[in-house]
């Protein structure tokens, strides 16, 4: 199989380039893309990429595989390769540190902006803040986000305005705290989002939903935030 990898080492290269590798894959097995990268790294130790848990939990190995963002560790080669060719590039829209490693700074800045923690001004109870099963259910499909950045880097609105648009991942988390019955800062959170960029730069093209490796739906969460803003203002 032919594997084409985006290579860029700012200390050596003037510009990024694609390097082709020919690799013999073991028969009768459908390897994951990360396994292929590990095999290639044994051949050429200079290939750089992030990986950690190798089972789709840590979110380290988000990358663009034959045009679609995803986690290399849980994407089978059979699903990612086209015409027996696998093209691996870093997540689009973020500055490249080296090869498939991107600088996630801008992504984390947006995450920080939405205050991803519970805010509750009422005195803490003796044991814990309880939730009914129904209240807890509202967080399903929101809390599972692993911050791999596959969605935000698949979003054109995030590409053009990564400093102003919170992006699908950040907004999914914003709604996770807006929907939490234990959080009392709903109004402040909504006020922070009511500008022409933070939420409203989303045009609902659903690239985020298409690529999310955890099967989450940021567009739906953004819709809920919009509804909350409309309800508050009308």
């Amino acid at each position: 199989m032919l594997v084409s990898i985006y290579r860029y080492n700012p200390e050596k290269d003037d510009a990024p380039y694609m390097q082709d590798f020919e690799i013999e894959l073991p028969a009768g097995k459908d390897l994951m893309v990360l396994d292929v990268l590990n095999l290639l790294k044994a051949q050429d130790p200079s290939i750089s990429y992030r990986r950690s848990c190798r089972e789709g939990v840590c979110g380290s190995d988000g990358m663009n595989m034959s045009g679609k963002n995803g986690l290399a560790c849980i994407t089978p080669v059979s699903a990612a390769a086209k015409n027996n060719k696998l093209v691996l590039r870093p997540l689009p829209g973020l500055p490249v540190v080296r090869d498939l490693v991107v600088d996630m700074g801008q992504f984390y800045k947006q995450y920080e902006k939405i205050k991803p923690f519970l805010i509750n001004e009422t005195p803490a109870p003796a044991i814990e803040r309880l939730q009914s099963p129904e209240e807890r259910e509202k967080l399903d499909g929101l809390y599972e986000c692993i911050l791999c950045a596959c969605c935000s880097t698949a979003c054109p609105s995030f590409w053009w305005n990564p400093d102003k648009f919170v992006g699908p991942s950040g907004l999914l988390q914003a709604y996770r705290f807006l929907a939490d019955s234990r959080d009392t800062a709903t109004q402040d959170r909504l006020s922070e989002l009511d500008d022409p960029f933070s939420v409203f730069r989303c045009h609902g093209i659903m690239n985020c939903v298409n690529v999310c490796p955890k099967g989450l739906n940021p567009t739906k969460a953004i819709g809920h935030i919009r509804t909350m803003l409309v309800q508050r203002a009308t």
Binding site: E192, D194, P196, S198, F200
Partner: protein, 115 residues
Amino acid sequence: MVTQITSFGRSGLYDWMMQRISALVLSAYSIFLIGYLLLNPDLTYEQWSGLFESTSMRIFSLLTLLSIGIHSWIGLWSISTDYIKSTGVRFFFQSVCGLVMFIYVVWGIQVLWGL
């Protein structure tokens, strides 16, 4: 919170709402005009000018004209903030768009009301 002074209503929610309301007005006007033309295949000049002379049609047309201005301002503002990264060029583009929309609205009123 991202501060913006060149967007239509400064609030993201307001712009979003206005864009949707103006879109509804534009669709209603388009459907009405297409429907009117389809239902009147032998349309005469008198009938057509009579339609636009009625007060209700003038109100509907003016509402549509203002909707075009609002809708295109919000849309083009959005496009300019996506693709034009130089502040000077972006502001120039937004100013030209604003001026063109203003001209269309004033000119449209002149045409519609036969001033």
